[in-house]
């Protein structure tokens, strides 16, 4: 009886340790995809048969049905350009040249990896929807308060939220230098 209790206790402790370690390691994999470019992070093995088991698990939880790099490259940011966590308490200006790609979009997600629950109908901007002040360049404002132009609503997004930049049919510069191809900066403007 005593031996049985010891085995049972061991299994329970092992299960708790295993689950906790999976949450931590896969959670790190969701945020740190291996290749950093300013506040953005990406992995070139997403969707690939060559991806290791941790990448596959991270993709399954944080980006299921992601296309492989031959078709699309995904950059995600959980922090601004100063390294501070993205939070709905702040307003951010996201600005830069159009990424080197056929078509791009930038979308906000809450911590649960789904679109933010608000009825502002402003979850994203895209190459074909963004209002520009000059060709080949764009800006967007991520804020819980309505903005006149290129507003991405972070109302109810909580903290941290994330931004995903999708590049469909990326250009050569993205493949050759994913860590330095020009991507927009994320600058904190004001906070509550």
């Amino acid at each position: 009886m005593r031996k049985f209790a010891a085995i049972l206790a061991g299994l329970v402790v092992a299960a708790v340790l295993a689950i906790a370690s999976v949450v931590v390691t896969v959670g790190i994999g969701i945020r740190d995809r291996g290749i950093d470019n300013g506040p953005w992070s990406t992995s070139l093995t997403v969707g690939s048969a060559d991806a290791d088991m941790y990448t596959k698990a991270a993709v399954a939880i944080g980006g299921l049905l992601a296309l492989s790099k031959e078709e699309t490259i995904y950059y995600t940011a959980f922090q601004d350009s100063d390294g501070d966590t993205l939070t709905e308490d702040c307003t951010y200006r996201v600005e830069g040249p159009d990424p080197d790609t056929r078509w791009w979009s930038m979308t906000i997600y809450a911590l649960d990896n789904y679109l933010v629950r608000n009825d502002d109908n402003r979850p994203s901007v895209a190459q074909t929807t963004v209002t520009r002040t000059r060709p080949g360049h764009f800006h967007a404002v991520v804020s819980p308060k309505a903005q006149p132009v290129n507003w991405i609503s972070s109302r109810n997004a909580g903290s941290p939220f994330s931004l995903t930049l999708r590049l469909y049919n990326p250009g050569a510069s993205v493949y050759s230098a994913p860590d330095s191809t020009p991507l927009p900066s994320i600058k904190k403007e004001t906070c509550k």
Binding site: S21, G47, L115, Y168
Partner: protein
């Protein structure tokens, strides 16, 4: 070694083993749930036009609100699948996912000549299905999985036209 020390060593070994099993299982479990969910919408080996993505969408994580999605949960035990990718003015693609999340094949609109491109999806062991000369033959690494069509919605007002165009996509079992 004392009894308690042995207990700690075996518990740690068990935790490490369980850790790797759980990490390995995650993609299969989550992909399995998606395949089951997709097959419940319209059945297996049948096309399904997903609703426009909005803040209430909770089927798959990180949906893109600028894309129109169409799915087809496949089960190749009943035969090969003919998948039709229609042409598109905006970026569109058809992608094939195994049951462990691997994206084993994808085609985008730039590869479509004419009105559509047919793709014949077969099991690895299938030696009887004949691929027409104008079609592309693809062997799936797993028997079950998901076909996912994506089509860019360039502007909000474009949704009705995009919705109509995406309905030209098809997936159907090849009989015989």
């Amino acid at each position: 070694m004392s009894g308690f020390l042995k207990w700690i060593v075996w518990t740690v070994f068990a935790a490490v083993g369980l850790h790797f099993v759980l990490v390995w299982l995650v993609p299969y479990v989550l992909m399995g749930a998606v395949i089951i969910g997709a097959s419940q919408q319209n059945g297996v080996n049948e096309i399904y036009q997903a609703p426009k993505v909005d803040q209430t969408s909770r089927t798959v994580v990180r949906p893109a609100p600028d894309l129109a999605y169409t799915t087809c949960a496949f089960d190749l035990r009943k035969g090969a699948l003919a998948v039709t990718m229609p042409k598109s003015e905006t970026y569109s693609s058809v992608s094939f996912f195994a049951d462990d999340t691997v994206n084993f094949f994808a085609l985008n609109d730039r590869a479509v000549e004419g009105d559509s491109q047919e793709i014949i999806l077969m099991r690895e062991s299938d030696r009887s299905t004949i691929v027409p000369p104008t079609a592309i033959g693809v062997r799936a690494p797993t028997t079950k999985g998901l076909v996912l069509f994506r089509r860019v919605i360039p502007f909000d007002d474009a949704w009705p036209a995009i919705d109509a165009e995406r309905r030209k996509a098809d997936c159907r079992l090849i009989q015989g």
